[in-house]
């Protein structure tokens, strides 16, 4: 529980200026939720940790690496190419008796769904913890799905932390539960827990070290269908026993009896918000409030208590009605009836409205304005993707542009992408568009697919193999900026650096593309717009040619957020001449944050602070009014 650390006394360490708990070797640190989870994994003796970056889960890995070093714990850590691979790698390590864990965002669990579902039946040996970060809102995701419901579907227990400190303590609980039942356990933090920072009590690493010892058990690890009914029954029995465990009976903060037969049930960060609101409204200690820490399987005795002991029940949870559905009681107010909003994040302001209604609180009608006029995100100044997008849309004004997930989804602002579905989908979508149009026997619009390098490794390769095999015809531009930029510049297999900074074996995109059977391949720096456009036209000719197929162009230029790469890049000084007529072509079609419109002069103007000096805009202005003055090209 996150309030416990405050029962201790503090002593100041003169040397380091840090606060230390005087009772043990523990100390207080300000940790982000994801860092607290990483710390918890290392403290619990986790031996193998695998992940694929994705907001809001990306910061667990760097924390694991940092704390493993700090606490002198040798571990295998890896950024796997995708969540399925990460999951399977960590699961096998658990078969040997070692503790292992995997972290991903909620849609990553869709990718890892196949190994997840079966892992419930077959179980694990060493503690196996699956950290799945949900994104109610959503802020940075393609859905706001609730992984607790996924856990229910998979028949895997799930813990729901309400704060960074609690997320860390739940890691220990998850490992313990996982080992006791030989069952994977999910920890489901949400964005507001992952990206909250809080003072967290940190301990030394536990002296848990297992020598790998995989015990062959074909009936379990191979589990042909004849074994599965028995494994399924054993799984159900495990879940029944967990739902009887007293330690997972929801925590009650009791009322004083002034609101009899009335209670509020909450979990995750919604509990923190609800608790604080009740405190502010003067209802804490008046009405019974329960915190559910294990939403699935929900404690059986708790379900009975709610069904028979209360007349009015309100459930506040994110994002789907998981606790509510298990209560299976018509009197429960929650998401099914729309009493609590069914979509979006349950912000304190929204929960306040629900509580006012439920508790029948008289309030002055205070109209609070909602934030408006927020600025949309955009590709960085100097971003190589912008140059590639500009080349694509100016070459193929009637094209269809399937794209994918990453920074380059912001190509939407430039109207240079038409679809974005899930990791790797764009290549198969390119093929699908082709086959659909080809059926009509008429002219087929140019199809230009864009995908990032990391996304290509993640899930693009099978789509490319299939497209080549099925004789699809389209252009594929791989936006290779040598990093996973959106989530904080994690390395890719091509760049060749492992998660902990050691060199790995490089895997080259060009080799992969050729091995997929692609017969047209070019690589070009998109900063050289003219050459890039030339390659696009060649690619189009190949696609339409008698023996056409998939044409691949790698758009190669490092991310401008890579400080080292930026240093080796030529920097041009850009000026705008009086020939600028203020047509705004550069602002509307190129949308570089460094080009602004001077309302007084009615001309484009370069914001020198923002400009990286890439020089691409020189080739964008139709009147050549934007030009390079220094470091001539």
């Amino acid at each position: 529980m996150d309030s416990l650390p405050w029962l201790f006394f503090y002593a100041r360490s003169a040397q380091k200026g840090e606060l230390r708990l005087s009772m043990s070797k523990s100390k207080e640190k300000i940790l982000m939720g994801n860092e607290a989870i990483g710390r918890g994994l290392v403290e619990c003796g986790c031996d193998l940790f695998a992940s694929y970056p994705g907001t809001p889960a990306s910061e667990v890995m760097p924390a694991v690496i940092r704390f493993a070093e700090e606490l002198n714990r040798p571990m295998h850590v890896e950024w796997s190419v995708n969540e399925k691979v990460a999951f399977e790698t960590a699961l096998a390590a658990s078969y040997t008796g070692k503790r292992s864990a995997v972290a991903m965002k909620q849609v990553g669990l869709n990718v890892a769904a196949d190994p997840l579902m079966r892992s419930a039946y077959l179980g694990c040996i060493g503690g196996f913890v699956i950290v799945v970060a949900d994104d109610p809102g959503p802020y940075s995701s393609q859905t706001e799905q609730d992984s607790r419901l996924f856990a229910h579907f998979a028949k895997i227990p799930v813990l729901d932390p309400s704060s960074p400190a609690e997320a860390k303590s739940m890691i220990a609980e998850a490992f313990e539960l996982s080992e006791r039942y030989e069952l994977p356990v999910i920890l489901r933090p949400t964005t507001r827990v992952c990206h909250a920072r809080q003072n967290v009590t940190c301990l030394e690493a536990a002296a848990i070290s297992k020598i790998s010892d995989f015990k062959k058990d074909p009936g379990r690890w191979i589990a042909t269908p004849m074994f599965l009914k028995g494994l399924h029954r054993a799984l159900d029995e495990k879940l029944d026993r967990i739902s009887e465990e007293e330690r997972f009976y929801p925590r009650l903060c009791p009322g004083d009896g002034s609101m009899p037969m009335t209670c509020i049930i909450s979990s995750g960060v919604s509990y923190s918000n609800t608790y604080e609101l009740l405190e502010d409204m003067g209802y804490l200690g008046k009405v019974d409030i329960y915190q559910v820490t294990l939403p699935y399987p929900l404690n059986r005795h708790f379900i009975e208590k709610i069904q028979s002991g209360y007349e009015r029940v309100l459930v506040i949870e994110e994002t789907y009605p998981v606790v509510e559905l298990q209560l299976a009681d018509e009197k429960v107010l929650g998401k099914r009836s729309g009493y609590v909003p069914r979509e979006g994040e349950l912000t304190p302001d929204i929960i306040e409205g629900v509580l006012i209604k439920y508790l029948e609180v008289p309030t002055p009608a205070e109209k609070i304005s909602q934030p408006h006029g927020e600025k949309r995100p955009t590709l960085c100044a100097g971003c190589p993707h912008r140059a590639a997008f500009y080349a694509i849309k100016s070459t193929f004004s009637k094209g269809i542009f399937p794209s994918d997930i990453g920074c380059y989804t912001l190509g939407m602002n430039l109207e240079a992408i038409d679809t974005c579905h899930c990791m790797g989908a764009c290549i198969s979508q390119g093929a699908g568009f082709y086959h659909a149009y080809a059926l009509d026997g008429k002219e087929i619009p140019p199809i230009v697919v864009t995908i990032g390098d990391s996304t290509f490794f993640h899930a693009g390769i099978p789509g490319l193999i299939n497209a080549v095999f099925q004789k699809a015809r389209f252009m594929l531009v791989i936006l290779d900026n040598s990093t996973t930029a959106m989530t904080g510049n994690q390395p890719t297999p091509q760049e060749g650096t492992l998660a902990d900074g050691r060199p790995g074996n490089k895997v080259l995109i060009s080799d992969l593309v050729k091995a997929c059977g692609v017969r047209f391949f070019r690589e070009s720096d998109p900063y050289d717009l003219n050459r890039f456009v030339l390659y696009l036209k060649e690619a189009d000719q190949f696609v339409q040619g008698e023996d056409g197929g998939v044409a691949v162009i790698v758009s190669k230029h490092p991310c401008v957020l890579d400080k080292e790469a930026l240093k080796s890049q030529k920097v041009y000084t850009i000026s705008v001449s009086d020939e600028c007529v203020g047509c705004k072509h550069c602002i509307e079609e190129f949308e570089c944050p460094a080009i602004i419109y001077d309302e007084e002069l009615r001309q484009a103007k370069i914001d020198e602070i923002v400009c990286t000096g890439c020089g691409v805009c020189e080739d964008v202005c139709p009147l050549h009014a934007i030009f390079v003055t220094e470091g001539r090209k």
């Binding site: 405050w6 608790y275 304005s369 408006h372 912001l410």
Partner: protein
């Protein structure tokens, strides 16, 4: 003393860093702290908002009308997020345009120092100089030193001191 602070601006302005400085300062003084910040796509130049709550809070989020202090790293953001500021709350805004708030053109000051990136610390220095924050400048100096990349500590401190020196403006 409990204090709720919002930090509003756009991705790339160093708002996460100031969020961390405030949190570290709180823990250096032995207080509880919980913060919330924006990550991911919004950081690509989009609007970002950090919440910092010093004292015994459970929720990482600040409700509308409850913030004691707002640091606005961009003038345009006052219109977007001022609804978070309470009736007696203080607003510190990075601008030279006067309004119903304390203002300082931190961007120009940082630019003149030759380091536009320390604009965030200039505004922080200004706010603490005005007595707007839960702690004094010394605690923030210690927090900045503790979490700065050693290569940037001096520059960060200089930016902070520049802002602090403008408390009369």
């Amino acid at each position: 003393m409990k204090q709720q602070i919002i930090l509003s601006g756009t991705g790339g302005q160093g708002i996460l860093f100031i969020t961390r400085v405030l949190a570290e300062a709180a823990i250096l003084e032995g207080r509880e702290v919980i913060t919330s910040e924006t990550h991911g796509m919004a950081m690509r130049g989009g609007t970002v908002l950090s919440h910092v709550k010093i004292g015994s809070f459970k929720s990482p989020l600040i409700r509308k009308g409850r913030a004691d202090v707002g640091l606005f790293f961009k003038k345009e953001n006052v219109a977007i997020h001022e609804s978070y500021i309470g009736k007696s709350g203080l607003k510190f805004v990075n601008t030279n345009i006067l309004g119903n708030y304390h203002c300082l053109d931190a961007t120009t000051i940082a630019h003149d120092m030759g380091a536009v990136v320390v604009m965030n610390l200039v505004l922080l220095g200004y706010a603490v100089g005005k007595g707007g924050l839960f702690c004094g400048p010394d605690l923030l100096r210690r927090a900045i030193k503790k979490i700065s990349n050693p290569k940037h500590t001096n520059l960060n401190m200089k930016g902070f001191e520049e802002g602090l020196a403008r408390k009369e403006s």
